[in-house]
């Protein structure tokens, strides 16, 4: 047995990655049109820089950031802007978006190779990352350049690349690590350079031996980069749990950030995007999406243009099977169930999971809390989810704060194990929405 690193508590859902783990990343068909939301990141939405009717090229800037905590957006194909307005986003909200109809030519603004990219200064690196519109591709979509600019009073000494991919079903990061390990490590080097950090780790869960092997082969001669094997446990890939597992530091509660313990965590997909942005000036216009589940005919890992509609992407994977009832953007533990398939793939979309009646658990029926404490035993944050759910159910939102309501990051481990099948995350979100930290 290999020694693996991990955090305390957590859950062990079946990982269901066998559907796509061995399938190489395929290029999705060029979409007929793309809907590109101006807000695909945490922070201020970008401002549209194009007008309806304008002919544009791939990689062209179409939305610029109005402030520091924001990110630009770029055209993911060439064609004509046919609409600018509010469109449905996978989060369930209507978001100002730019719709581009493809001209089928896929012509891009020329990119320039800079083989000397490793000699760029930290500020130049951060500038290129910002201009490329890179955000965290693990799902949270926080603007990467902001994360790479910690304030002076928070010295950072460690970078951790997150290859845990602890969400069941998802294999996007897995495939990237197997297929493009060298570029990922180059991205890590750029992140370390940008932060002036000399120690980097890559954390990978033990259920991806081929990814561990591939990454280890690349870093064999790098003394300052280390691959760490992680226990297969959810939510191993949550930033705080990952840091705890690899270097034993605990991010403080009440809004503490990784930089408070001298760490910056980036997803492996983000590292690849950083490499491409810094070396070639390539904006973030595509990403790997795992399209999977019993409800999809041909589960695959796809390289997908940002803005591709789910309808088109699902057809690209053979369409839905007859019993398909639920389409989730993201993984099964934290993803969002969609009520419409007219939503685009955005920068933070790591997977699309289609469940069938066989998978489906009728979550509208739940029972009272019997206070068995299973949720307490699995909560990675050390909360009492049972109490939070009961207080929220009764409308005692203020009191829930005494039980550290706002330290919950909604990983869903409590709901996963709840024998009463209570919608724990819903209760906690409701309480959060009704009170202030």
């Amino acid at each position: 047995m290999v020694k693996t690193d991990t955090f305390e508590r957590g859950v062990h859902p079946h990982d269901s990655k066998e559907l796509t783990a061995h399938k190489p990343i395929e290029k999705a068909h060029l979409p007929k049109r793309v809907v590109i939301p101006l807000s695909q990141h945490i922070g201020a939405p970008a401002k549209a820089e194009v007008n309806i009717g304008e002919e544009i090229k791939k990689y062209q800037l179409i939305g610029s950031p109005p402030g520091f905590v924001s990110a630009p957006v770029h055209a993911s194909l060439s064609g004509k802007v046919i609409a600018i307005g509010d469109f449905l986003h996978p989060s369930g909200r209507m978001i100002p978006s730019i719709v581009i109809e493809s001209d089928g030519k896929d012509e891009g603004v020329p990119l320039k190779d800079n083989p000397d990219y490793l000699r760029l200064s930290p500020d130049e690196i951060k500038g290129l990352i910002r201009d490329a519109g890179i955000v965290g591709l693990g799902g949270a979509a926080f603007p990467t350049s902001v994360k790479l600019s910690p304030p002076k009073e928070k010295p950072v000494d460690t970078v951790i690349l997150n290859g845990a991919e602890c969400e069941p079903y998802l294999t996007a990061d897995h495939r990237l690590m197997v297929e493009r390990p060298r570029e990922i490590v180059n991205g890590l080097k750029l992140i370390m350079k940008a932060l002036g950090v000399s120690k980097g780790y890559i954390g990978i869960e033990n259920n991806k031996p081929d990814a561990i092997e591939a990454m280890e082969a690349v870093v064999a001669n790098e003394s300052d980069i280390e691959v760490r094997t992680l226990t297969v446990k959810y939510p191993q890939g949550a930033e705080k749990m990952l840091i705890k597992a690899i270097i034993g530091r605990e991010v403080p509660p009440k809004g503490g950030l990784p930089m408070d313990v001298g760490v910056v965590v980036q997803n492996v997909g983000t590292a690849l995007a950083i490499y491409e942005a810094v070396r070639y000036g390539k904006p973030l216009i595509e990403r790997v999406v795992t399209v999977t589940g019993k409800g999809i005919r041909e589960p695959k890992n796809m390289m997908v243009r940002i803005g591709t509609m789910l309808t088109e992407l699902l057809e690209d994977c053979g369409g839905l099977v007859d019993g398909a009832v639920k389409v989730i953007v993201g993984g099964p533990m934290m993803g969002f169930a969609q009520w419409s398939l007219d939503v685009p793939v955005v920068k933070g979309t790591s997977g699309i999971l289609v469940q069938t009646e066989e998978d489906f658990f009728p979550s509208e029926e739940y029972f009272t809390c019997i206070r068995c404490g299973r949720c307490v035993d699995v909560c990675p944050m050390g909360l009492n989810p049972s109490m939070l759910s009961i207080l929220s159910e009764k409308g005692h939102y203020e009191e829930a704060k005494e039980y550290n309501l706002f330290d919950c990051f909604e990983c869903g481990s409590c709901a996963f194990v709840c024998p009463s099948k209570r919608p724990m995350v819903q209760f906690i979100r409701l309480a959060k929405s009704q009170t202030k930290p």
Partner: protein
Amino acid sequence: MAVEAKKEQLIVSVSPHIRDEETVSRIMWSVNFALFPALVASFYYFGPRAIFVTALCIVTSVLSEYVFQRALKKKITISDGSAFLTGLLLGMNLPPSLPFYIPIVGSFIAIIITKQLFGGLGYNIFNPALIGRAFLLITWPKAMTTWSAPTASFVALDAKTTATPLGLLKEEGIGKLIEEFGSKGDLYINLLIGSRAGSLGETSVIFLLLGAAYLLYKRYITWHIPVSFLATVGVLAWAFGGKDGLFTGDPLIHLLSGGLILGAFFMATDYVTCPTIRKGQIIFGVGCGAITMLIRLKGGFPEGVMFAILLMNCFSPLIDRNVKPELFGTVKEKK
């Protein structure tokens, strides 16, 4: 199926979209199952009367829950195994020979007064089976403390009455107790296998432990309450249980007698009425052990497990309010 046709029929629900297989009813039925070996042992020692009393409790419990929920137009939950469990536990906590109406009244009190009037499963403050038993003990003190001697034959329809080991210990001292069983070794063995007078399901320590081991293995219960409960009883029995001064008591007799094993593994661990947080459960277990020994050594009753658990049930909400799990990030880093 075409993607287009699917659009209007999608199910939307909150994450997570996968759940594990445990359900309340699966847990409850597993606890019922874990009690089965001890129930068979009670049949062996006390004959068909033991089964009759237990069956009466189970039938009345389940029926009471059904009628109550039916009358109030609530969802019928009798299939979740919790009313069955309350009946089973109450039955196992009763003397083997009782007039038929006593188990019926006890089950009614347990299910209607203790459980349903507080809102049903999850809302009750006290362990229903134990409140049922406490009511019976107060109402029919004579019948509830008349114990049958074990016969080890499966068939005994009637048996002579005798005192429980704890009763003997209290009234006549340890010398008489050992004399009754032959030797100290015989006493331990009989206590372990259950060949002694007592509540019908509490006597067979070995079979109760078998069931408890199953529950521990399935992680339906954890060690915290039973171990802290038993350890407290053991230490206090050793410290204060002897005639010849401090630390001369015999902890084993106290650990193996009365309703301690049944109470510590199957009743004090009742999810609804014990604290949720493991640290709090240790406080709860220690409290149960201390009150048990206070009653056994200084109180008017020879046995105190029932009152100990019921009294500690009152503290569960207070303990949960004040003993919180360790919030991530508040612990000093170890590396």
